[in-house]
Amino acid sequence: MEAVFFILFGAVAVGASIMVVTRRHPLSSALYLLMALFSVAALFVLRQAHFLAAIQLILYAGAVIVLFIFVIMLINVPEERLPSERMTAMRVLGVAAAGILILESALLARRFAMPQPPVAEVGTVEAVGIALFTDYLLAFEITSVLLLAAVIGAISLAKKKI
């Protein structure tokens, strides 16, 4: 049962990610990115990481992509003025490299069996919270300082006079 869902959501995530980079219109790309994030959240749920899945949806799907779409709407490039896509050597090479990477990871993954589902308790809000404030406290605090720096940077960019 779990394998069925894993294959389903995994396939949707991969397919949607390919669509993100191949669509011509940025808004379509953003919507496919939303789809990919959704499937990844579903994969998190399959691994019992419910908290991570909820946060993924709230932050990435509910806020970050909305901001992307916001910017796309504000810039509002009409369809006919979007740059036309051309086949360049770099792009062909990129696709080939991506193919090799996928093949390699598939070969590598075959050596390992699919891991057993973790016990339900590791993904709960309580477990994640305790881990964040004990074992990973330093990383957590550094991230918050980074975010604070980003906030200050955004304000100083947006405000002409402080």
Binding site: H50, A54, I55, I58, G62, V66, M73
Partner: protein
Amino acid sequence: MTAVLFLVVVALARIAIVFSFCFGLVVVFTWAERKGAAYIQDRRGPNRADILGFRAWGMFHPLADALKFLFKEDFIPDNAQRLFYQLAPMFAVAPVLMSIAVVPFGPDVTIFGRRVALQIADLNVGILYIFAVTGMTVYGVVLAGWGSGSKYPLLGGLRSSAQMLSYEVSMGLSLVGIFMVFESLRLSRIVAGQGELLFGFLPKWGVVVQPLGFILFITAQYAEANRTPFDLPEGESELVAGYHSEYASFKFSMFMMGEYLHMVIGAVVVATLFFGGWQVPFLADTGFVLPGGASVPLPEILVIALRTGSIFLKSLFFTWLYVWVRWTIPRFRYDQVMRLGWKVLLPLSLVNIFATGLVLLLLGK
């Protein structure tokens, strides 16, 4: 095998009951909104639709509306981006309907010797799940604004998405106090915690322990539902009808449905988090136990009926509150809405978290 069958039947039954509860409340709500508006403005309100001479205080008007929506032409403007235009109404309804899944409508009951929770799914992330899925409704607004290929919807969509994003921040933060007091995100645990008594006589409802949190949450929720005094996204005088100007027929009705469902579910969530959910004051599993020591024993079936009835009544009251506020308070200006969101609600919700933490620390929890 029977166990699996039983689980499937129970799951389907719960989903069917909750869905019909929500849609039923939406129908009642559209009627109550018009009647309420009329009485607040000293009018009679809709009272003309009748079936065989019965008018039922205008109760048939929602039915007439639904029929009209179904029979209108389903029109797509020339400039519209067809895919986005069609997707938008779905985004407006589906996520809202999903969000009701974690709300408990009563205590566990025993059916054929098996315990059944009156809740579709008791998730560990609880309220975060509601935030996660209702956060998707903003796509309905954005896609409608963009996909219509017209200026007013675009402006409405932009306004609305900015507003929804801003208020989601203070909405989430205003609930942190509740999580701290009841030590869980699980709605069933929060409701169970609200059954206790404070000082031996005061029900420990969310609104009693978190009065500021309640005011902040309900304000943010009105903004989130694009409801007056925050209904800038569809300010008729400036933007025609905002993001759904170009929609007609059933697609338009889906936007309306999404909006009213949002409010109904918002009311249910407020009742659950701040007004005890299915708890009735002083009602224990066996019957009423009053603070003085007196008790009135009641049969189990009556206790369950009282409890599910109480969440229904509380939800009705908060849906009515939406009507009441809408026809009492005028619309803000857009910059005022933004200032309120970022410069008043957000700092206050942070203060609320700090104060709650301080009190819990001093109480030694």
